[in-house]
Structures are given as C-alpha cells and as structure tokens.
C-alpha cells in the first residue's frame, strides 16, 4: 500500500499514470453520462406530484453530493501535503478547488430553478441553502488565496489550512435538514430505512452519480498533469518531455 503511494507520490510517476488513465476514464464517463441521461430523462417515469420537473434531481443531487465529496478530497490532499510534504498531493488539492466550486454553483443554480415553480421562491435563507452557499465561498476563498501567494509551497500550506478549517461546514451541510427546520426537504436516499424514491427513479440517479464521479476523476487527472508540469518545469524529465513533443 505505502509502496504504491510512495511510487506515485513522485511527480514523474504520477504524471505518467495520469496520462495512461485519462482516456480510459474519459470513455467510462461518456458511457455513464449517456446511460444516466437516457435513464433519467426518458426511461424514468414522471413524479406523482412534481411531474416532469422532478428530473432536475439527476443534475442537482449528484452535483450537490460532489460539492461535498470534492471538498473532502481537497482537504485530505491538503493535509497530506502539510504532513508529508507530498508535492502531488498539493497539486491535487489545488486542482480540486475550481471543480468543487462549479459543482457547488451547479447545485445552487439547479436548486434555484426548481425552487421557483415548486416552493414558490428562487431562494430562501434556510440552513441547507445558506451552508451550501458558504461552501461556494470557501472554494472561492481557497482559489483567491492560492493565486494571491506567489510561492508554491506557501500557497499550498495556506490553502490546506483554510480547507481544513472549512471541513467543519461539511457535516453542517449534510445534517442541516435534520438538525433544524428548513424549507429544503430531508434526505431521500441516505436514510437509515429504505430510500424514499422509487427504484425506477433511483437507478438513473445512481448512474448519474457515478458519471459525475468519473467525470471528476477524469478532469482531476488532466488538471493535475498541468499542475505537475508547471510545478516541475525546471526538472530534467519535464525538459526532456518538451523536447520530445517539439521534435
């Protein structure tokens, strides 16, 4: 286990691995998106109460889950960078932030579009919506901090501390609908008893979630490759790589 981590903690090996895996993940992502979208938009039946508008959950719910998941990846990678000074971990943390911000924005935007016809309002300041908005600001703050500090090591360290402090928001977002009375509905899928969603609607939702996960992995690898090249631009292996592609 640690041998593998040791090997791919080296920027060059991580770069090579990401190059090999990217096309595979790309195709898996495309296949999952086709399956999930056909299942969600065509095969799944309309909801008994919301009709066709419920189909927005196939984007809203996966992006909301991803906004939390990406944050945990970012904070964990940041912690690894802090403790063990793994450069690849710093590159991963830095690459996560813009994607996490987009997932958060997508969750907020789709939720708002759904809220207007269903609730009767675009936005309310209840605990779930407000804590998710704070998550968006955490991502944006992290990105601003990264670009404000010129030195890479310093930027990674400051970013990791900010990300770790912000981790406290993640359980708040998740449990907000249970701890307080909110306009946002309670959990549908992650309940202790059976999910409150019919199986014909649940399967496309799970496929879409896998598609989002796989999409995240693909884009993360592309971004990390760029980060590694930038980070290692003065090393001999990057120079050799550039000469090879120029020739």
């Amino acid at each position: 286990m640690f041998d593998i981590l040791d090997k791919y903690g080296a920027p060059k090996n991580a770069y090579t691995l990401a190059c090999t895996l990217t096309p595979w993940f790309g195709w898996i992502t495309a296949a999952l998106f086709v399956a999930g979208l056909v299942g969600g938009l065509i095969l799944a039946p309309p909801d008994y109460e919301q009709g066709e508008s419920f189909r927005i959950i196939y984007v809203h719910v996966p992006s909301a889950w991803m906004s939390l998941f990406v944050y945990m990846v970012m904070a964990s990678a940041g912690a690894m960078g802090l403790v063990w000074k793994v450069k690849v971990a710093d590159a991963i943390a830095r690459s996560c932030a813009p994607m996490g911000a987009w997932f958060t924005f997508l969750a907020l935007a789709t939720g708002s579009l759904w809220g207007k016809p269903m609730w009767g309002t675009w936005w309310v300041w209840d605990a779930r919506l407000t804590s998710e908005l704070i998550l968006l600001f955490l991502y944006l703050g992290y990105m601003a901090l990264q670009s404000a500090i010129d030195d890479r090591r310093m930027a990674a360290r400051a970013g990791a501390v900010l990300a770790l402090v912000g981790v406290v928001n993640i359980p708040i977002i998740h449990y907000s609908v249970e701890w307080w009375s909110t306009l946002h509905q309670g959990p549908t899928v992650s309940k202790f008893d059976a999910p409150s969603i019919h199986i014909s609607m649940l399967i496309p939702l799970l496929i879409m979630t896998l598609a989002f996960m796989s999409y995240f992995a693909t884009i993360l690898m592309v971004r990390v490759r760029g980060e590694i090249l930038d980070q290692e631009r003065n090393t001999s292996w990057v120079r050799k790589l550039c000469e090879k592609s120029e020739a």
């Binding site: 640690f2 981590l5 040791d6 903690g9 039946p45 309309p46 909801d47 008994y48 109460e49 919301q50 419920f54 959950i57 912690a79 802090l82 403790v83 063990w84 793994v86 016809p117 269903m118 609730w119 009767g120 309002t121 309310v124 209840d126 605990a127 501390v161 770790l164 402090v165 981790v167 406290v168 708040i172 701890w179 307080w180 009375s181 909110t182 306009l183 509905q185 309670g186 959990p187 549908t188 309940k191 409150s196 969603i197 019919h198 014909s200 609607m201």
Partner: protein, 156 residues
C-alpha cells in the same frame, strides 16, 4: 515518503487539534444560535408561546383537509395548518404555489394577530422527500396507505 518522524507527527497532531477545535467551537456556536437557525416554527411551538409576537416569523405545517376556504371575489384564502398536535388558522391574500393542496406541507411568512390568526405575507410549499411514479402513488392511495412523511413531524 510516508514515514512518521517527530516533526511530521507534530504537524499531524496540530491538524487534528485544529479540526477538532473548529468542530467544537462551531458546535457550541450553533447550539447558542439554535433558535435563530429554525426556518419555521410549528403550531405547537406557537401554542407554547415560543414564537415571537412582535415581529414577523415563519410557521410550518400540513394544510388540514377540508379547511381551505377561498374568497370568490379576490385571492384571499384561509386555511388551517397542523403539526398533528395543534392547529393554527392562516389568512393569506396572494398567489399560492402550484404544489399547494390539502395535506401539503406549507411554510408561511407573516405575523400573529391578537386573535391568534396568522396573517401571512408569503406562502411557500415545502416539498417532501418522496419520489414515485403516479401509478405507485395511486396504488398507495387506493390501498388507503399514508405516504410516509417525516419532514413536518411534530417538534417537541
């Protein structure tokens, strides 16, 4: 690379300390602001006098079956909200959301008048966490089963 030495252990413990400390501080702060974080009050809380009387607040509950009375000439509507323990009558003059119906979860914004009637300035539908095809909902209704909702359960 992942070997622990005293310096790394110190950094790791500092991180754990920061995260736990932040968690504790936030938990205490949220506990203190518990009251302000409630998006709405339940009818029972209003009966117990926990809701503010001198400012606007929100009330949440289920629309009581058969309690909806519409004025023929205007948009004025009156209905009862329940948390199964206590009912509060709500008056509203405005457009109701599409999901408004008897038995539906509703959150209304407004204030309580002297007679204990809630004068709403805004009515929002609270959607529940259930998703099912129309046929399944029909079958459940035919069987006389209640669609399980725990989102507006009575708050003690």
């Amino acid at each position: 690379m992942f070997v622990m030495n005293p310096k790394r252990r110190k950094v790791l413990f500092t991180i754990i300390f920061i995260v736990m400390g932040m968690g504790l501080a936030t938990a205490l702060a949220l506990k203190a602001f518990q009251e302000n974080l409630l998006y709405f009050y339940s009818p029972m809380q209003i009966k117990n006098g926990e809701a503010p009387t001198n400012r606007a607040f929100r009330i949440g509950g289920l629309v009581v079956d058969g309690s909806v009375q519409r004025d023929q000439q205007s948009l004025v509507v009156s209905f009862d909200l329940t948390d199964t323990l206590y009912n509060v009558t709500v008056n509203y003059d405005g457009i109701l959301p599409d999901l408004f119906s008897e038995g539906q979860g509703i959150v209304a914004n407004g204030r309580l008048d002297e007679d204990g009637i809630f004068k709403a300035t805004q009515v929002l539908a609270k959607h529940d966490e259930n998703y099912m095809p129309p046929e399944v909902a029909q079958a459940l209704a035919d069987a006389g089963a209640q669609i399980p909702t725990d989102h507006l359960k009575a708050q003690k």
